[in-house]
Amino acid sequence: MSRCVLVVGSSPEVATVHVRERLFRTDAPGGDQLPLWAQYYADLGATIAASRDEASRLVLGIATPTRSYAAVLITLGIVCSRAFQLAASSNLARHFAELCALPIGTPLIERTGTRLLRGKYVGTKDFEGEPRVGMKVKDLTSYLPLAQCGRFQLSLVSSKDNAARRTNIRANEPFLRGLMPEIDPFLFVMRPRFDAIIVGHLSSMRQETQAAFVTKYKGQLRTGTLQDILGIRQLVPPGHGFRSSVQPVDARNPMPPESLAKTSVVVFDGSAAFLKLRHVFKSYDSVVLLDRTETRFAEGADQLNSAYGKRLSDDGFGAMQGAPEPPAGIEVVAYREARR
């Protein structure tokens, strides 16, 4: 049986509270809580993830004294909020129906314990009157009933593209359970999805997501990194699930990933990222981080101000229920504009 998930409160609230109360820094004595500015970014990310509107997109401009850690903390909030959204809306019957509607041959992954199997969807079959969905791995086909169909998930990687059909799921289980006890850590990491795209430098993201943090699980401190949560696609082993991705600023022909969901949030890490690639992601909810020390800060702010002048509504904050108050040194503007 799939794990029963009980989530009380809205997903951004839960994510916000969990990050604030369960994630601790390791570089201050005594495992201190995250500082206010860090909590703010994570809270903001959680709130944005839950503020989607079909007709308009949210644009959030943030002027910061430094870009460091802002993008990854916002993405942390987005990923956690989305995890709770998914858990809260998890409905096996709907998932079963969605699987049944898939075209034959669709790449699937199956989780068995801590392992992932890759295969293809082969359709449904009745077993003594009970419909089951099937997945084929090499010559072996397995059929799961509704009660177990959560083990099958869509794969964004074709089984042909990956020689290894069987992969161990790598999850920092105690760290993730310490942060989000309601979420199955293996389900959390196994599914490939783009909760957020960070437009920035992969090298910075690599460094920042490797910083150590701790959570508490079963009475002990559990060490992990932001990458354990963010699962940046370029930094996970091939064939593994991911939750976010980095779009390099200096890409020659940048394109949004084909499987980018409409609900993905784009985080522009700096003026150069925003000025160069804003046209690529103009239909997505966006966070624009402008570092006041950047050479092109004023240019980035001017661009945002110009777009603000053509906004649909400046009720950006109103749309973000429970948006937190920025701490000292951070200036924010939020507005909505038409999705293109």
Binding site: T66, S68, S203, Q207, R292
Partner: protein, 518 residues
């Protein structure tokens, strides 16, 4: 390369939350009189200030006024050269009474004032900096220009309270290093806004002369920040002075912008008047890039031309990049050949091609020159039409500029190349020249990779902080491809391009005498 830890980031936000500003205004009567009488001299000169006779005088006087206000040095310090300026002025203005009798008295008074300062060992800014450094543990001194950093460092090292002071320039305040105290030398408007809006110290001490009237900018970054509810968006005024100073009533003041260096693009883009013009040297459209330390370089207006830059945002393996000319921005470090002259990659490529390089280059120069002549005679539009008639697929003015440019080797498409050969009477040799240009291209690629590898190794071991502080650094490359390349920070880019001889492209030159107009 510029790694900032979580702890450093926390300190940065801590500075933003706690920063306070303190103002220290200095009075020095003789320097004030010099500064104000300089302004009077310029006013008296009126339009004559633009005459060559006065330009060199005003540059020197203006430069002294600025540097003595921008660094904690004594008025007689040789680094700011008061003695040498006096000697120059006495010589240069010897006939002033005959040529400009109306201003001769004012000019003589100016020289007398400067002569007094040239013997004055007072260093009032240094005294304040020493007091501030003695009272704090983790202090830095912020200068707005890298030029005087070594000299200031040398002076401060002699005094015990200031020996431990870090001497920094604004780009160094972009990272995660924070101080307890930052001593800002000069008016706030001489510094980028982020020094105050994203402070890297909890105490910012502003040290400046009283006669400089400084009005700080203080506005939200976003138009939408000032919402009806006031505080929701996080914009708060910058750290405030405990008490706003009143404008002095007993003497006039000067706007800091009036004495700061500025680029006169019209004059600067005219270029270095002393540079040679090689025979058979075509003019090309180029843009002036102002480099750190008052130098400049012309880069040809070809957005596709590749140039080598250092990007400190990238990790080591990617820090040295070949990027297109059109992608270069202020703040980038551009690598230019400063020893031996010429394009370094071109030189390595020639070595790779061996003895045949001379003939191949001659062939390349020949067809490019023929094409440029065709463009000059018929104009770009007619030349494009002629190329299309001869089978060119992508003949337009932008491509034509690129094809005739010495930095590009050959077009992507052989049809375009063949059309050019037909146009310039080389149809019969088209294939042979195409192949030769292919060889040049391969040699350039190999040379580029080789130089990049050598540079990556050098950049990996370089002192990045020093590069940030000084805005320029020499890189000696080892082995047979050895040579010196200098990384210059780009501080400004001319708004318009200008025609310059092609031999001047890529060669840094001193902007001295052009940017200092007092």
């Amino acid at each position: 390369m510029r790694e900032v830890s979580f702890l450093d980031t926390d300190r940065v936000y801590g500075c933003g939350a706690k920063a306070v500003l303190k103002l220290h205004r200095i009075e020095h009567q003789r320097f004030r009189e010099y500064s104000l009488s300089f302004r009077e001299l310029v006013q008296q000169l009126g339009d004559d200030a633009q005459d060559e006779y006065w330009l060199s005088v005003l540059r020197k006087l203006g430069r002294y006024r600025f540097e003595a206000s921008a660094a904690p040095l004594s008025f007689s310090d040789p680094a700011i050269d008061a003695q040498a300026i006096c000697e120059f002025l006495r010589d240069h203005l010897a006939d002033c009474g005959v040529v400009y009798p109306n201003v001769a008295a004012a000019a003589r008074a100016m020289i007398d004032r400067l002569a007094v300062l040239a013997l004055d060992d007072d260093a009032p800014m240094q005294s304040i900096c020493s007091e501030l450094a003695a009272a704090g543990t983790d202090c830095a001194l912020l200068l707005n220009s890298s030029r005087l950093v070594p000299k200031v460092r040398q002076v401060l090292d002699v005094l015990s309270p200031t020996r431990s002071l870090d001497v920094v320039t604004p780009p160094q305040l972009r990272g995660g290093r924070c101080y307890e105290r930052l001593i800002v030398v000069g008016p706030t408007t001489w510094f980028p806004e982020f020094v105050f809006s994203a402070p890297r110290a909890t105490e910012l001490h502003l040290v400046r002369y009283k006669w400089l009237w400084d009005q700080r900018r203080d506005a939200p970054a976003f138009a939408g920040s000032a919402d009806a509810e006031g505080h929701r968006n996080g914009w708060r005024r910058l750290p405030q002075l405990d008490e706003e100073p009143e404008r002095p009533s007993d003497f006039p003041t000067i706007d800091p912008g009036e004495i700061a260096p500025r680029v006169d693009w019209a004059k600067a883009s005219f270029g270095d008047p002393n540079s040679g013009h090689e025979a058979d040297d075509d003019d090309v459209d180029a843009t002036l890039f102002v480099l750190e330390d008052n130098s400049g370089v012309f880069l040809e207006d070809d957005d596709d031309a590749l140039l080598t830059v250092i990007d400190l945002e990238q990790d080591q393996a990617l820090a040295v990049q070949r990027i297109r000319r059109g992608e270069i921005e202020r703040g980038n470090f551009i690598l230019l050949r400063t020893e031996g002259g010429g394009d370094y990659i071109l030189e390595v490529a020639d070595r790779l091609m061996g003895p045949k390089a001379i003939a191949i280059r001659a062939c390349q120069n020949d067809w490019k020159r023929r094409m440029r002549l065709a463009v000059r005679d018929d104009g770009p539009e007619a030349t494009c039409r002629a190329l299309v008639e001869r089978g060119a697929l992508r003949a337009n003015e932008a491509n034509l500029r690129s094809w005739t440019n010495n930095r590009s080797i050959r077009p992507q498409s052989q049809e375009d190349f063949r059309a050019m050969m037909r146009l310039v009477g080389l149809d019969g040799e088209s294939q042979e020249i195409w192949d030769k240009m292919g060889e040049v291209r391969r040699a350039h690629q190999t040379a580029g990779q080789r130089v990049r590898r050598l540079l990556i190794e050098r950049v990996r071991t370089c002192d990045v902080e020093e590069l940030e502080r000084m805005g320029r650094m020499d890189f000696e490359l080892p082995g047979e491809d050895g040579g010196t390349l200098t990384a210059f920070r780009i501080v400004d880019i001319a708004p318009e391009s200008t025609a310059v001889p092609s031999s001047r492209i890529g060669h840094p030159f001193e902007l001295e005498g052009i940017t200092w107009r007092g």
